[in-house]
Symmetry: C2
Subunit: 225 residues, 2 copies
């Protein structure tokens, strides 16, 4: 009989191998490395060198693990706030860029994060303060602040979702769109066809960064009235 170090009862004080935090950290690593489908309770337990059932003492089920991950990502968001050193519109953009960057750090989690309302709303009210501050400085009424912030957040969410999905498939937008449009009957989408041919392959080259900046500018311009 070999003592492989595994013991079956409660570990001695200070020797606990598990905690909610440790589990979530390991889970985040798995998801970041190998995608959300790679996260199974068994694999998670294995990386923690623990029996799968031990996880259930710290988290009630797998859904709670996923929710915990969303929470983790959101808690890790720290939006910088340059305050009054810059105009309000720049202040708003800085926060928006940081928000996007935070989501982008864990692309495999984008879906989970963006759709997990409970995790989101717990932290989001504090996280979004820089948005509110900037919009307040812009002179908006309370209700307008609220609505403008929501609009901006929705844009970032939609953008991030697209960015995460597309990145996940290593998808080439420009050439794909070109061939797609060329395959269309010309009268199906005349305006699109004209735009694409006017732009040509080079002009179509799209990158996410400039797409994001463009959207941001449009939104800020709209908020300014």
């Amino acid at each position: 009989m070999v003592d492989d170090g595994k013991r079956s009862g409660r570990p001695r004080a200070g020797e606990e191998r598990l905690s909610r935090e440790a589990i979530l950290t390991a889970a985040l690593r798995i998801v970041d490395d190998d995608g959300i489908d790679a996260l199974t309770m068994r694999r998670l337990a294995a990386t923690l060198k623990v029996n799968p059932m031990s996880l259930y003492h710290h988290l009630p089920n797998k859904a709670a693990v996923l929710a915990g991950l969303a929470e983790l990502v959101f808690a890790g968001l720290e939006l910088p706030d340059p305050g009054e050193t810059v105009p309000w519109d720049e202040q708003l953009k800085v926060a928006a860029r940081a928000y996007r960057d935070g989501l982008r750090r864990h692309p495999n989690l984008a879906l989970q994060v963006l759709s997990d309302t409970s995790a989101v709303s717990d932290v989001v009210v504090v996280t979004m303060e820089p948005f509110y501050r900037a919009l307040d400085r812009a002179g908006l009424a309370p209700r307008e602040i609220f609505e403008a912030a929501n609009t901006l957040i929705d844009f970032i969410h939609g953008f991030s979702l697209g960015e995460a999905s597309v990145r996940a498939e290593t998808f080439e937008l420009a050439p794909d769109l070109l061939t797609r449009v060329r395959g269309l009957p010309a009268d199906k989408a005349p305006t699109l066809t004209r735009i694409v041919t006017e732009l040509g392959a080079d002009g179509l080259a799209y990158d996410f960064d400039s797409g994001f900046e463009s959207g941001l500018s449009t939104l800020v311009a709209g908020i300014r009235r």
Copy 2:
């Protein structure tokens, strides 16, 4: 031995019980009724009174079923285009509202639809033509049309995602936010705290429709420069 009507070989001509379309339609029904997790190959087969393995003759795997559903939803999107009977900004809004409505018709699929790039891009180029037309009428340059359309679509996606998630949990935003904010240390989010108290419970009452309209107006104003 009872003949229960089941026969094990190829069905006679005209008696086929399956087709890609029939499978997807049944799948959509399951998802709409009981959510995405309720969609299993076994249940799908059962509702079609067919052996689970029969599905695999028409679709290679479950992922293809999900992709097919996304495709179905997108194909069902028909954006009305009032054309020149209204100003370009109204034309844009009409298309945007229809797009949102289309997504809202299958809230349990929102995630799948919005993250399935391949299904999306195949149909989306045609579907979005009304957007391009309206933006063209606004006098934008080709590149600007492209960017503005993307921004608008991203906003709708983000908005729909939030709407679908929240609806799925029958979540009450206003009272929840109030209690949440009241539980905060007052200096954690001063601007938010001030806004919320200024608005009060009534002013906070939020409904998705007006939130969407507000975002739409902001975006249109931004596009107009």
